[in-house]
């Protein structure tokens, strides 16, 4: 798999304090279920992302745990109460503990 998968974030800009915003995140990953077989009949080993976490300066906002029933290139849409400006951290951890992360700036007026 790629060293650095494509990560796409959609965080609304110019939001008002107290507003509930919708955040969309997507990471490129095969989410191999471990049930499929290759052309020679061999079982393709499981390779999935297990955890996702969105936080603002250490405060957790939303967490997800994935199982093989989640489709490839997992897309998540969730909501957040925009209270203050700051950096939003998005972090994915795969089954082996490998991590990928990306930040986005949230500006609240």
């Amino acid at each position: 798999m790629n060293e650095q998968p494509t990560i796409r974030l959609a965080v609304p800009q110019g939001v008002l304090a107290g507003e509930v915003i919708e955040i969309k995140v997507m990471i490129q990953h095969p989410m191999e279920s471990g049930y499929r077989r290759g052309t020679l009949g061999e079982r393709i080993p499981r390779n999935i992302i297990k955890f996702f976490r969105c936080s603002q300066e250490g405060e957790t906002i939303f967490e997800a745990e994935f199982h093989p029933g989640v489709a490839a290139n997992p897309l998540l849409t969730f909501h957040m109460l925009a209270e203050r400006s700051g950096i939003l951290d998005f972090e994915w951890t795969d089954q082996t503990g490998l991590r990928w992360s990306k930040q986005a700036e949230l500006s609240v007026t």
Binding site: E63, E65, H79
Partner: protein
Amino acid sequence: MNRNLPRRRFLQAAVALPASGLLSSAAADAEAGKRQVDQAVVDFFGADRRVRSGRVTVSVPAISENGYSVPLSVAVDSPMTAEDFVRRILVVSQSNPLPIIASFELGPRAGLAKMSTRIRLADSQRIYAIAEMHDGELWSGYGHSIVTLAACVI
């Protein structure tokens, strides 16, 4: 008009006959699916938890042409304030090889208990979502999808 009546009766009978056979096997499937969902709830939330139906809306397409990627949306009726919020949500499949599809953990900072993702479905089935409220109450809801191309498991 009258001439059409026997034709209509015939059609009704033709539709009803196979449907009755289908229904009984569907009922058996539903029973197995119910057990799978109940077991997943016990595994995730612990035993002896009362699950009430309501307050949770699961949206999946009525027909999924591709079981590899089915859009799923879960919404829980909750004000999401510091005093009254949703703590966890479990998404369970009735007939996938692995019942638990995903779980979400949120808190008052989530603002709105509504989320969506894309899932895999191995068969036409119900997809349940069970929400645990801040006070430990469990509420559940489900959506049903007919899958034309199942996500293969072989």
